[in-house]
Amino acid sequence: MYGGGNIFDDSNTDALETEDREKLAAFEARIARDEKIEPADWMPSLYRKQLIRMIEQHANSEIIGALPEGTWITRAPGFKRKMALMAKVQDEVGHAQLLYSAAETLGKPREEMINDLIEGKSKYSNIFNYPAYTWADATIISWLVDAGAIVNQINNAKGSYGPYCRALERINAEESFHLKYGHHCVIHLATGSPVQQKMVQEALNRWWGPMMHFFGPPDKISVHTEILMKWKVKMATNDDNRQQFLDMYVPKIWELNLTIPDPALKKNEVTRKWEYSEPDWEEFMRVINGDGPCNKERLAVRRTAEEKGKWVRDALKINAQYVTPLA
């Protein structure tokens, strides 16, 4: 989800053939009895690689996600909103650190992950490649994008890798404030003046498309979901997550008298599943591969921050020796 659904190279599946049969069986048995895998355990290289990629992309999403929201801190309406948004963005950066730390236990150093992000080698959640035009956009992001992330995080917290689960538990505890705050902001606009109502409706119209992309491509075109779910790396399919999100949040959006810009969106009472217009997956692939409105800006800002902070790192006179963290 965080990298766009396709987090595999096809070449990787062959590596599984060369793994020690006995060790692989013991590893899978542990997962099957719901026991967590810890950093010191043997694990197939495919598991290690995919986990690093997934956690890294999740961490990248937190850091980049701070940008469209952070941009509104100085212009948030009123002191309380500024304080709250500042606290939320602080949390997001903290979450990124927790996630990078979890990925590090698998053997990839943090600085390498940060460099890969800036170099454009690793991905982050596509939704942050879109611009936050108005304050209402910031509120919609705080509410719905966080809601989407929480759906995914709550599911993944039951996964197999210990450090990732522990990081997610800490993160989920802090997210409840984000969600409440976001909802509060949207309610304020939706129940406000005609100008406010129009602003939030237009923001919703802009963000609905990206929100439908948020959980990644539909299951029928998502490859390798099966082994990721067997190893409890992926705890729910993209479509499962999407359905859960729609179930929880479409009613909440409708109760604010906001319309969702998809006339086909409705819940099928027989199948109990939401039906909707198929999102534009061509646009999704285009944007995630670099051709979105904000891709260049996001990376440029991260790179600038990294370069401008170099003197601080130099002043700390880093002479330390780094080893892979333990848990």
Partner: protein
């Protein structure tokens, strides 16, 4: 590059699409394992790591990362390199029953005793918790002693041993930030109640 955010426009940076080499070299900061005490008298528990150049910075950054939102009563850090880790056991075996600690340390007969903090992991997926302090000559000695004195009712799956002198605790005078933390209401879920506003929509239409 022009951005919706005037501050970014003012930076006058060029749009960057990636795949250019960064000027900065990826120097790694060391990592410190962080242990937190939720309430007075409770044992310290591992909560995660912090990247920092030294122990003082590590404590400052650990406070920010691990008590930014929830208060606690104590915190300490140890460089990851100073943590000695026992083997992991499987299937609810107790590490004390089944394993011998191998230590690269060799102590002389007359070397002084020092204190070691012992941390136990009793369940995969949970975190190491301080089980006590042992006085011993070296890590191997400490493990043997812990076997005798710190055994628990549940099997211990993994043991961390850290020399007391490698553990850096927060000073009492730096703990007052935890007293004012609960006052920061704007981070509280309870500050964002909007039931009345929502209900006003129903009465309107």
């Amino acid at each position: 590059m022009k951005s919706l955010d005037p501050r970014i426009t003012r930076l006058n940076i060029s749009a960057h699409a990636g795949s250019g080499s960064l000027q900065t070299s990826p120097e790694q900061l060391a990592t410190f394992e962080v242990f937190l005490q939720k309430r007075d008298q409770m044992p310290f528990e591992h909560v995660g790591i912090i990247h920092a150049p030294d122990e003082q910075m590590a404590l400052v950054l650990a406070k920010e990362q691990f008590s930014r939102r929830s208060t606690c009563s104590g915190m300490m850090v140890a460089n990851t390199r100073s943590v000695v880790v026992s083997p992991y056991t499987d299937m609810e075996e107790d590490v004390y029953d089944h394993m011998e600690m191998e230590s690269s340390e060799v102590s002389e007969e007359n070397s002084p005793q020092e204190y070691f903090s012992i941390f136990h992991l009793t369940r995969r997926g949970k975190q190491h918790r301080c089980a006590g302090t042992i006085s011993a000559k070296n890590f191997e000695d400490a493990f043997k002693t812990a076997k005798g004195t710190l055994k628990e009712d549940k099997p211990v799956l993994n043991v961390w041993l850290i020399r007391e002198k490698d553990l850096f605790k927060i000073h009492q005078q730096d703990t007052d930030i935890w007293n004012t933390l609960p006052e920061k209401r704007h981070r509280d879920v309870t500050s964002y109640r909007a039931r009345q506003k929502k209900d006003s929509i129903k009465t309107r239409s």
